[in-house]
């Protein structure tokens, strides 16, 4: 990681729309040592053209389902003038110098940033390579480069019709100086960008050949599973492993200070061995903690003033002078990610080096973690990335890598450490518990004149990316709140940092926006109800200065049949998303609440403006995906603590949406040429509020605490 990019990180994140502001160029002009040493043409870290004509594109961002390998290869291929069928994709190795995501200054896949951050750099990388191939061809023919054009991997001298393939040009192109400036294609000439190009990873994902970290197989490899302290901060105080050692197939027991691993020939033996361990835990300071203790701490902290993240006008006077004052408190629980592929990491520690195979959203951090644990220099650590069986923010952490390397240090063979589902749910890095306090003032006509929002929660940024916690503000914790688009003359948004170190907390799909959108869009709905106004009309009146937001709101309302009658027991709710992602999304949810307080989602309509669309099919898939993830979280998602222990353990008590419960999801895209916005997370973030507002419409019950299903069951009218 470079200090320069870290310093500039904050200015990027706080810039409206999140457009690419950094001056440095990703990967350009830096030929990769390992790549350049192979024969052929490698003008930058993303492209290699071999003399046999094979074209390899190196994917800096992790593919975890969001389609980044498809869309990023489209950006390169568009400007390089090759077809998707002509290229082969490879995971890029860890290298912050070559592959840093400009948003972070590190090789990180997160924050719905891949297309936002790489839209221009990858196009430039492709265009540079194209220009060099054309220059090589022109030199071969001794003609003006302007008389040549590239298409489908071939350069043609237009006047004479002579052609040379990229493969034939590779050696010569490698000697052409890298141009300082290249012309990018005019968007009207795009042949790939904006089209629903097929995903290159689909064939391997339908026949079992796709390789995830958990699928790694090495000669002599052993398999381990692990039992870590059930309480954060707990230690192993005593261990009787006799019965575990007696399980056929168990080879070794590895004891760490906070965990015990059973190393075996296969997972079955490892699991049985782990179950046979008798571990005495010293639970430590969190031994008696329950969820109620956490909420009590947050509630108390919410009584104190926070650091002001946004202030418009004079909120105190406006509130004091309002005709009507509305107050509310909202709560958002701890959440687990529950990726389908449980945490796993394969490590081979040798005296002179360490090799790691895993799936990671932070490949360079995984490498640094392995170097730290082994004490080896970075260059002695090799990390191989794989497809991720779900990321959702969980694989932004390297706890499972660190732990696997600690275990592997004691094993004289490559060892694959695989967590059971129970271990995965109970040792997650959870979405924090947030507590929000609101006050708003309405004038005599019901128009909002003051808005006060106090956000209370821990700072993930202070740990994860310290420049993102500045002057007392965690830019993630306030994301989706400080961009409030509603035209209210007096606004105060505060952040109170309050740490409850009883669970590790981190990013969950939709990050800070997921929590803020739920509370902001629920509270604005409350104001509409107090004013006795229609929720869409109420928002519309406050969005006159935000045309893109207004467009998606109107479109979603129209497509959903807003205002038309619904059957008894049903209701529609609306929510609008604004954030640092540069994407506008309005959702209308229709729910049915039956007598048993069972919430069924009947229909979801989303209208999306994410600016320039790279692949509309993937954009739609990501919205559908985000909505399903959001429904699971909103209806049932909740991690609770008792005696310091997470009470959930598997899909029986950490319920997620299933196929038979999934409603129709209609996604309408607003196409324009604005800068590309993020698309992996908005669908998740906007869903909880739309559902809560729909439950209110159906039942008259305002649920200010997630998840909704148990909340509804326990509420009284």
């Amino acid at each position: 990681m470079t200090t320069v990019s870290r310093r500039e990180f904050v200015s990027v994140l706080t810039a409206a729309g999140g457009s690419l502001l950094l001056g440095y160029r990703v990967g350009e002009g830096q030929r990769v040592a390992s790549v350049a040493s192979a024969p052929g043409f490698a003008p930058n870290a993303f492209i290699r053209i071999a003399p046999d004509g094979s074209i390899t594109l190196f994917m800096p961002q992790a593919e975890m389902g969001q389609g980044t390998h498809t869309s990023m290869s489209m950006l390169l291929a568009e400007e390089l003038e090759v077809t998707p069928e002509q290229v082969r994709l490879e995971h890029a190795p860890p290298d912050d110098k070559l592959y840093a995501n400009p948003l972070f200054g590190e090789q990180i896949t997160g924050a719905s940033s891949s297309i936002r951050m790489f839209y221009e750099p990858l196009r430039r990388a492709g265009a540079t390579a194209r220009a060099m191939l054309i220059a090589a061809a022109a030199a071969s023919w001794n003609v003006d480069a302007a008389s040549c054009r590239a298409r489908k991997g071939v350069v043609t001298h237009t006047p004479t019709g002579r052609t040379l393939s990229y493969g034939a040009l590779a050696a010569k192109a490698a000697t052409v100086p890298v141009p300082d400036k290249v012309a990018l294609k005019d968007p009207k000439d795009f042949t790939l960008i904006g089209t629903p190009a097929k995903r290159p990873d689909t064939p391997s994902k339908v026949n079992g050949t796709a390789q995830y970290g958990i699928d790694v197989r090495l000669p002599g490899m052993l398999i381990a599973t692990v039992a870590a302290s059930p309480v954060l901060g707990g230690k192993v105080a005593g261990l009787d492993d006799e019965k575990a050692k007696a399980v056929p197939g168990v080879r070794q027991i590895v004891q760490l200070d906070d965990a015990v691993a059973v190393v075996a020939d296969h997972m079955w033996a490892a699991k049985q061995g782990s179950a046979a361990l008798e571990i005495r835990w010293e639970d430590g300071p969190n031994a008696k903690v329950s969820t109620a203790d956490v909420v009590e701490g947050l509630a108390k902290a919410s009584e104190t003033a926070g650091v002001t993240a946004r202030k418009d006008g004079d909120p105190a006077s406006a509130l004091a002078g309002a005709a009507k004052k509305v107050e509310a408190v909202y709560e958002s629980p701890f959440l687990a990610h529950a990726t389908m592929e449980p945490m796993n990491c394969t490590v081979h520690v040798r005296r002179d080096g360490c090799e790691v195979w895993t799936g990671s959203q932070v490949l360079s951090r995984a490498r640094a973690a392995a170097a730290k644990v082994t004490g080896l220099p970075l260059e002695k650590v090799v990390v191989h990335n794989h497809f991720l069986g779900g990321g959702f923010g969980r694989r932004l952490e390297v706890d499972y890598v660190t732990q696997a390397v600690r275990i592997a240090k004691q094993v004289d063979a490559p060892v694959k450490v695989v967590w059971t589902r129970e271990e995965d749910v109970q040792h997650d890095v959870y979405r924090p518990y947030y507590y929000d306090r609101f006050a708003a003032g309405l004038d005599a006509h019901g128009k909002p004149v003051a808005w006060s929002h106090r956000i209370v929660g821990p700072s993930i940024m202070a740990r994860f990316l310290p420049p993102g916690f500045k002057d007392g503000i965690d830019i993630d914790a306030v994301d989706g709140a400080v961009q409030l688009l509603y035209d209210i003359p007096a606004i105060q948004i505060e952040y109170v940092r309050h740490e409850e170190p009883v669970l590790n907390t981190g990013f969950w799909r939709g990050v800070g926006v997921t929590h803020n959108n739920f509370v902001v869009e629920s509270f604005i709905d409350e104001l509409a109800a107090v004013s006795k106004q229609d929720p869409v009309a109420f928002r519309r009146a406050l969005l006159r200065k935000s045309p893109r937001a207004l467009t998606v709101l109107e479109l979603a309302a129209k497509e959903a049949g807003w205002g038309k009658p619904v059957p008894r027991g049903r209701g529609r709710g609306v929510a609008l998303l604004f954030s640092s992602w540069g994407t506008y999304l309005a959702q209308v949810a229709e729910v049915e609440v039956t007598g048993s307080s069972d919430v069924r989602v009947r229909r979801i309509v989303c209208a999306v403006d994410c600016g320039q669309v790279v692949n509309p099919d993937i954009v739609k898939a990501q919205i559908e995906s985000g909505v399903v993830y959001g429904i699971s979280g909103a209806l049932w998602g909740e991690v609770t603590l008792n005696n310091g222990r997470v009470e959930q353990s598997n899909f029986n008590n950490y319920r997620v949406l299933r196929m038979n419960e999934t409603p129709p999801i209609d996604v309408r895209l607003v196409r324009n040429s604005e800068a590309p916005g993020g698309i992996g997370e908005p669908g998740t973030s906007v869903t909880a509020a739309a559902l809560a507002n729909a439950v209110y419409a159906a039942t008259g019950k305002r649920l200010r605490k997630l998840p909704l299903q148990p909340g509804l069951a326990s509420s009284t009218r």
Partner: protein
């Protein structure tokens, strides 16, 4: 113990109570079948036993003796499996893809028995397969696509 996997006889020396999932993945190196929950709650480990979709994470290998085991690696050799894989590709169903082996094994078993499933047939057959990427709408559409012989 002798097993018949994808039409091939395989001899494995494993405990009879060992779940088939780990025999496939860790003993035979057939990693297309996935581990998700270990409790038959998520369907990621679904394989077919004599054409029936079963959860291999809770099925002892002894239960497979004398029966035909079919996994994702060979489901494309069956008529229904081939149609399902083609439909999955046509509609670009997978996202992260981790659950899709199990989804395809369940969908193929459904279509082999019931070539024209209704929505509620699909719900009943697929409700045990979790997808955290939320590809459910596309899975449903792809099953119908496959049932119609690839016509859209």
């Amino acid at each position: 113990m002798e097993l018949t996997i994808n039409g091939r006889k395989r001899e494995v020396g494993v405990p009879s109570d060992m779940p088939m999932l780990w025999v496939l993945r860790d003993v035979l190196g057939m990693t297309g079948t996935k581990f998700g929950c270990g409790m038959a709650l998520c369907g990621a480990c679904t394989v077919q036993l004599d054409g029936q979709a079963i959860r291999s994470c809770v099925t002892p290998v002894s239960a497979a003796a004398g029966k035909a085991i079919t996994t994702i690696e060979a489901i494309g050799n069956t008529a229904a499996g081939k149609k399902v894989q083609e439909a999955w590709i046509a509609l670009d169903v997978p996202q992260c893809g981790y659950c899709q082996s199990g989804q395809i094994m369940s969908a193929s078993a459904l279509l082999a028995k019931n070539p024209h499933p209704t929505d509620s047939d699909i719900d009943a057959a697929m409700g045990g397969n979790i997808c955290r990427c939320g590809t459910y709408r596309r899975i449903r559409a792809a099953i119908k696509h496959a049932a119609q012989g690839g016509r859209r």
